[in-house]
């Protein structure tokens, strides 16, 4: 379930630094409520597991979330913080 700020793991990294193939857990989404809700509706929620499918050092990245693949803009993915599992 949800964690408080104080319990947030310290080793969080922005999603755009994660190499392809890695499965990570979302710990925080740093965005306005419109975008946060949109991401949530697509399954990108705090505590959710996602797998990085494509991440070249530039451009958009592709992640696997639940049974679907989602393209995220690079700027967007920089605001999603994750921990390695």
């Amino acid at each position: 379930m949800m964690t408080k700020d104080s319990q947030m793991p310290q080793d969080k990294k922005p999603l755009d630094t994660i190499p392809p193939g890695a499965t990570v857990r979302i710990v925080m989404v740093d965005a306005g409520s419109g975008l946060k809700n949109r991401l949530a509706a697509m399954g990108l929620l705090t505590n959710g597991l996602i797998r990085v499918v494509r991440n070249d050092r530039a451009g958009q990245i592709i992640v696997q979330v639940k049974e679907s693949k989602v393209i995220l803009g690079r700027g967007m993915s920089h605001k999603i913080f994750v921990t390695e599992t």
């Binding site: 700020d5 809700n37 509706a41 705090t46 499918v53 679907s68 693949k69 393209i71």
Partner: protein
Amino acid sequence: MSLPDADKKILVALAGNPNSGKTTVFNALTGTRHHVANYPGVTVEKKEGRFHYDGQVIDVVDLPGTYSLTAFSTEELVARHFVFDEHPDVVVDVLDASNLERNLYLATQLMEMQAPLVLAFNMSDVAQSRGLEFDLKQLEILLGAKIVPMVASKRQGIDELQKAIIETAQQQQKQPLNVHYGHEIEEELAKIIQCLEGHAQKIHRKYPLRWVALKLLEADTEVQEWIEDDALKSQVAESRAHLYEIFGDNADIIVADRRYGFISGACQETIKDTVQVRHDISDAVDRVLTNRYLGLPIFAILMFVVFYLTFTVGAIPMTWLEWFFGWLGEAVTTIWPEGILLPVRSLIVDGVIGGVGGVVIFLPNILLLFLGIAFLEDTGYMARAAFVMDRIMHKIGLHGKSFIPMLIGFGCSVPAIMATRILENRRNRLATMLVIPLMSCGARIAIYALFVAAFFPEHLRGPMMWLIYFIGILLAIVCVQLLRKTLLKGETVPFVMELPPYRMPTFKGLVIHMWDRGWMYLKKAGTVILMLSIILWALISYPKAPADELVGLDEHQQQSAQLQYSISGRIGRAIEPVLKPIGFDWKIGTALIGASVAKEVFVSQLSIIYSLGDSEANIEALEEHLQEDYSALQGFCVMLFCLITAPCIATVAVTRRESGAWRWAILQYVGLTVMAYVITLVVYQVGRLIAG
């Protein structure tokens, strides 16, 4: 709800995620007969269809594909308003059974709206092949709605779905199930509901109180505006603050999290996953199609194939149509009684048949192009192409998908502007739409070919053509950046898009998609374009030159004299002083007026002015005339001006339609014309200085 009368129509709304196969279900339910319009006040497409079952008439409305029902996007608001305002007897939520958890998220929100729900588990064959086994009975109990497993693309389960729709419509509406949000949230919900009940709020009875309370807790921008009561407002603020304190996040996100919790709870109990390995094939294909090095060439080849089909295969029926309209014109001329109502004959032959024919002959191109695009979209490739192109397009302030309509623009602006529908973001779409005429369309090739051949030596012709195309692309990039920084300002919307699974498109789906676009184009040809063609015909044909001025002239000279005498010719002369600074005379001015119907008309108008008739055999003679009258610099300026200036009337009409407002079409028309004038002016004047 009471039992509907036997002759009462049943209204069904079709909801679902994008890529859930909602359109396929719609087509399978309603057949090919359907009606496409926009939802009132917004440019969201609304599809309506109808089917009969057991003597009942069932109307089906396709809601926009959404992932949820928040107030953050127009599509979601449209869907939500439809459910509350139109009271559909049944809401069918189409779900991708192989991706159930994500798809059920929308279903939980429909449940909360107390919609009479039927869940269509589409693509259950894919789910099965992935080793998913559903306990449907148990799921129906947990979700409180009838579930129909189906494979819409193979027409499996359609009959069952129709039956379920009828049954649900006739059922006494039962108390829908609620998602339990955990006691902290439920406590706050109860407080808000109490407030809502206590103060006779002006909220209409069609909204369930629990739903209103939940939306208030979620800080829904629309529902918040209904609230005027201060006590209620402060209760909502207090509840949100309280929840933030407990969970460290906003209530809307916690609510979303709990919905997923409810869903995964339901799924864990009822879905058995018998196969572990998945995504292998799709991942492997993606690795190739979106590869850093292979992605672009693959995209280029596929686009080449689409264009090749469009403009070479399309050329065959195009010649038939050309022949047909030519034949029709001649037939009318022949059977027309000698000497009676000749102006009417001219109106019908030159104005109506010529004008509309000139537009309708592009129909095969448009149908083929949209067949190709529909194929690439329905297979799931288009999203990959957008990913591949994004790195380049991002730099100029557009989305990867914008590349496709721009590319189509090199064929014809009309289908290109229609193709901007694939762009979800409105600002992006408008910016793309407005600059599409800068992509040199096929009709302009006729102009370039004439002037390049007339003014440039063999070895410079290729580079000259390339230069003109290149200038167009460059200007488009500059204009997009300008638009994005001024009129269409706004943060580049953070980009999130689902990569749909690969799928085999259905033949019926492709044909329907293609025909919808083609029909739209034909309707345009029959209305706006017909009207404008007649106006232009009148400008070119009237007033008639007095007979004594035509004495002693041969047929071609007569045509030339007539054109010069017409309003078009007079306007051409009248605007000569304006055109002088950019190097044009009245002849080019007159031809430009004709070109505003369709760009290729420019060449035939010039031929007429030079008394050459408009047959192709005279192209060489025309080139000689042009060489006598103009310098190479002037020739280049004509090409430059034709590249940039006002799009043809078909483009104006389609821009008006697709943007939803005249102001964008006018902006495009005026903006491009002014830009053409200024740029040509600079080039001509600087060119003259350099040339001495």
